[in-house]
């Protein structure tokens, strides 16, 4: 079932996706560092950083598509604000992901 762009649930979906990403990033890091602390080389090319970057890319694509769809489909207030929420999720995802490019996980 497809939710119309004006459906109020869109007001929270965008940042709920971001929340899931944030939990995955912090939780994934904690688990990775507890199970792979001895094998981790301290470099940036490790499964966690690469996986989180891939997840970031996927979430950005999804958020971008949904933002575009909401903006184009909606004629009323909730839909336009929902598009903004998806964009906010997009920006927040990129913001949180930037350190992944520069910092290894377990130091």
């Amino acid at each position: 079932m497809k939710l119309p762009a004006e459906h109020p649930l869109h007001l929270v979906i965008g940042l709920t996706i971001w929340s899931a990403f944030f939990i995955a990033a912090y939780g994934g890091l904690s688990v990775y560092c507890s199970v792979a602390a001895e094998t981790d080389t301290g470099g940036l090319e490790n499964p966690l950083n690469l996986g989180l970057l891939a997840l970031t890319a996927a979430i950005c694509v999804v958020s971008g598509i949904l933002a575009n769809w909401c903006w184009r489909s909606a004629t009323k207030f909730p839909g336009k604000v929902s598009a903004g929420v998806y964009i906010a999720g997009f920006i927040a995802t990129i913001g949180v992901a930037i350190p992944i490019i520069f910092l290894p996980p377990c130091i």
Binding site: F22, V81, G95
Partner: protein, 831 residues
């Protein structure tokens, strides 16, 4: 007013009024309950303020011995606790409970008795907590009660127990207010008040209420866990025995950081309400502000670890939270620019409340900037646990909450009393408070940068802190005088204030479309809303409402009636009958207070008896709710009675409550997962005889019970009520079988929570499951009895989907527990 309209007002006043004399304690209407929250909150604010003055007196000069270290610890702990838990949240909730129905064109909140229960829980919990000061056994571990300082080894007295039990008791009120505010805003707006026409204050309160539902459960859980550790020897936070003290910090700040925004959002809502009124133009960027509110609500949950930058977590994790902490400044900035743009483009009237808006803007922006500084990890390391953090926190909380709140009090004072405040006293109060506050806390930034740690009861002379502390203390007393002047103004205005004209500030929102002080029913008839600024765009509205020209201009049989509307477009959906004055909330809160006191006294059997009694009272309450004949309504052609509908406010209330419930459960799963992966001495116990097979068999009757209830509900949707009575007893029986199996698992599982942290988690989880399964089973039995009496039928299906949702939730949490504990052995050990 015509005779007919006058008769209507008399009828409504009789239906909605409180009982006389002591009967006022049975009042449930939102005006009374909201005002009680506000007044009680202000009393606690004064207590917290006196504690602050004692702290500042002690620190005014070096090497003072006014208080012993222990008493000083109690002073600052209780100051923080009282201000955060007994003042800031309840007073804002009270204001929201008072204003929201009036702003959305409703006569009351969705669950008036729950609101009254929340108030009494707050009152009793606050009294219990503060009573500890009378015996000098108040908590002394700081308002965030860090372990291991607060555990039984390092705090063997009763202080932390007062905190843990008292705060948990008080939080019942916060969560209950959260539920009723969400449902009221979403389902009880006046017809036509679609989401885009909703006053911006309601958006803020909606976000605040939802944040309470997700933010408070982690702390409730953490408090229960720490109390179990202290009183019963369970293991959660004791690092030597397999727990981890950092788990407390995670759970506390999962609550604690959103808490800052839970406090800030309603205050910002006050600002967003007042600025357009005094700028005499609509708010610039309404949509942007709504976007900022939603964004802030979410991102504020991703900041909690910035309180823990010094505990030794990886740099990458710190960076996540550092970035999120800076990101949250963006929606804050959007709001500030929208306010400035509104002021810039309007014709500003500099009335008394605007002074507080000015104070808010200056102080809060400064506090926000130091917040961004603290979001930078290296800077945070330098000033962590110094007075710089104390100064930042007060800039954010006093600037971001107290100033808007007092501004709001001045703004709505004519609404509360029908009289205007004194300009002279009001201005003196503001300037003394503003100057005193900045003298206290601006200088405190320097004290912190010079290295003075927080929470030290005294300091040596000659470290460069002497004059700063002295001036901070002088500033504190100047601020206290300012607050005293404001309170004097408030008190005097009831006697000497000039009578307020109608809509004295020329506001646009509906709360000014009624008499001041307001009647207990708010609106003689429910208006049709066509604009976001009803009083500006529909100037005839107050007269039409009072003349009974709107909807529901009646009070048949002295019933309290309200309209339920759809969440998005506010189309009329149902006619709701709200409960009248009731002693149940006071009685239940009193019984819960007995539970709390008995736990404090470690009289566990009496506590158990009182807890059982409280459940009896809850079920008694449940029995007379819903489609009970006492709630019958006279038919109307406006909308069907709510008992005839499938998605009434009961279902919404259940859904919203389960959000908070799920947050608590997920916090428990998080805690277990955290201990498993992080706690150095954690181990899965190999001795438990709990097996996946036994859990699997135990879950079978539960699933069948939930499925059976779902099938009965589906049949009822098709107007088929055959086998309803027998089917409900069938679900009840299956529920009993499940409970017996759960009990068998518990007692035969060789669980030793005093020796194994994993068993501690298991016991709490099983307790949680038993509570839910028990509630679902007993309520199903009650439903069977109600079906027999005709309270539930194809024509009155209201209650079935409510319990159906609870059964589904109960089944989900069971199987989630099963998944966690069944798969854990594969990853690390036996169940």
């Amino acid at each position: 007013m015509t005779d007919k309209a006058a008769q209507l007002h008399r009828d409504l006043a009789r239906a909605w009024g409180n009982l006389p004399g002591w009967g006022g304690l049975a009042a449930v209407n939102h005006t009374s309950v909201g005002l009680r929250f506000i007044v009680t909150g202000v009393v606690f604010f004064l207590i917290g303020g006196v504690l602050a003055m004692l702290v500042r007196t002690q620190l005014a000069r070096p090497e003072q011995e006014l208080f012993s270290p222990d008493v000083y610890n109690q002073l600052f702990t209780m100051h923080g606790t009282v201000m955060m838990f007994l003042f800031a949240i309840p007073v804002l909730e009270g204001l929201a409970m008072y204003l929201i129905p009036k702003m959305i064109g409703a006569r009351d909140l969705a669950y008036p008795r729950i609101g009254a229960l929340g108030y009494f829980c707050y009152l009793f919990g606050g009294i219990i907590l503060c009573s500890s000061m009378l015996w000098s056994i108040a908590p002394s571990s700081g308002w965030f009660m860090y372990t291991p300082l607060s555990d039984a080894t390092f705090s063997p007295g009763r202080g932390p127990d007062f905190w843990l039990l008292g705060i948990t008791f008080v939080e019942i009120s916060a969560v209950s207010a959260g539920v009723e505010l969400v449902v009221t805003i979403l389902r009880m707006r006046a017809p036509g008040m679609s989401l885009q026409k909703m006053p911006v204050f309601c958006w803020y309160i909606l976000a605040m209420a939802l944040m309470i539902l997700f933010g408070f459960p982690p702390l409730i859980l953490a408090s229960i866990m720490l109390e179990l550790e202290r009183a019963a020897g369970f293991i959660f936070f004791d690092g030597l025995r397999g727990g981890d003290p950092l788990l407390w910090q995670h759970l506390f700040w999962l609550f604690g950081h959103p808490e800052v925004y839970i406090i800030f959002l309603p205050a910002a809502g006050i600002i967003s309400t007042m600025i357009p009124v005094f700028a005499q133009r609509p708010l610039v960027g309404y949509g942007w502000i709504v976007l900022a509110i939603i964004t802030m609500g979410f991102i504020s949950f991703g900041l909690w670890v910035h309180h823990m930058f010094t505990v030794g977590i990886p740099h990458l994790a710190q960076a996540f939270f550092s970035v999120a902490s800076m990101l949250v400044a963006v929606p804050t900035g959007i709001q500030i620019f929208a306010w400035l743009a509104t002021l810039w483009s309007g014709k500003v009237r500099f009335e008394l409340p605007m002074l507080w808006v000015f104070g808010f803007l200056v102080i809060f922006v400064c506090g926000g900037l130091t917040g961004v500084m603290l979001a930078l990890v290296p800077f945070d390391w330098q000033v962590h646990d110094t007075h710089f953090v104390v100064a930042h926190m007060h800039y954010v909380l006093v600037g971001g909450m107290l100033f808007p709140l007092i501004g709001g009090f001045y703004y709505w004072l004519p609404h509360f009393s029908g009289r205007m405040p004194s300009q002279t006293l009001g201005k003196w109060g503001f300037w003394l408070t503003f100057i005193g506050f900045n003298a206290t806390f601006l200088l405190m930034h320097l004290t912190g940068l010079l290295g003075m740690p927080r929470r030290v009861y005294t300091y040596e002379a000659g470290l460069g802190w002497d004059w700063l502390n002295l001036l901070s203390s002088v500033g504190g007393f100047v601020m206290a005088v300012g607050i005293a002047v404001i309170i004097l103004d408030f008190l005097l205005h009831f006697r000497f204030g000039t009578p307020a004209p109608t809509n004295p500030w020329k506001a646009d929102t509906l709360e000014w479309a009624m008499d001041t002080p307001p009647s207990p029913y708010n609106f003689a008839s429910i208006p049709q809303i066509t604009s976001r600024h009803p009083l500006w765009d529909q100037p005839d509205l107050p007269r039409a409402i009072a003349a009974g020209e709107g909807l529901l201009a009646r009070a048949p049989g002295d019933h309290r009636e309200m309209l339920g509307t759809s969440a998005t477009n506010a189309a009329v959906r149902e006619l709701i009958r709200l409960p009248g004055n009731s002693w149940l909330p006071l009685q239940l809160a009193a019984i819960l207070a007995v539970v709390c006191i008995c736990l404090l006294l470690r009289a566990y059997w009496v506590a158990l008896g009182a807890a059982v009694l409280s459940f009896v009272w809850i079920f008694r309450w449940v029995w007379v709710a819903g489609a009970h004949p006492a709630n019958n309504m006279e038919p109307t052609d406006v909308a069907p009675a709510t008992t005839q509908t499938w998605s009434g406010i009961g279902l919404w209330g259940m859904g919203v409550t389960l959000l908070a419930d799920a947050a608590l459960y997920l916090s428990l799963i998080f805690g277990w997962f955290y201990l498993w992966t992080v706690a150095p001495a954690w181990q899965f116990s190999p001795t438990s005889s709990l097996t996946t097979q036994s859990m699997l068999w135990c879950g079978l009757p539960l699933t069948l019970a939930a499925l059976g209830h779902w099938l009965l509900t589906q049949r009822l949707r098709r107007h088929n009520a055959t086998y309803l009575y027998a089917g409900l007893w069938g679900s009840f029986g299956l529920g009993v079988m499940h409970l017996i199996a759960l009990g068998w698992i518990f007692f035969s599982g060789d669980l030793s929570p005093r020796n194994h942290p994993h068993h501690s988690v298991l016991v709490v989880t099983i307790g949680y499951l038993v509570l839910h399964s028990g509630l679902a089973t007993i309520t199903t039995g009650l439903q069977a009895l109600r079906a027999k009496r005709g309270f539930i039928s194809a024509q009155r299906p209201y209650e079935m989907p409510v319990l159906q949702m609870f059964w589904i939730y109960t089944a989900i949490i069971y199987w989630l527990a099963f998944a966690c504990f069944a798969f854990a052995p594969a990853a690390g050990g036996a169940v």
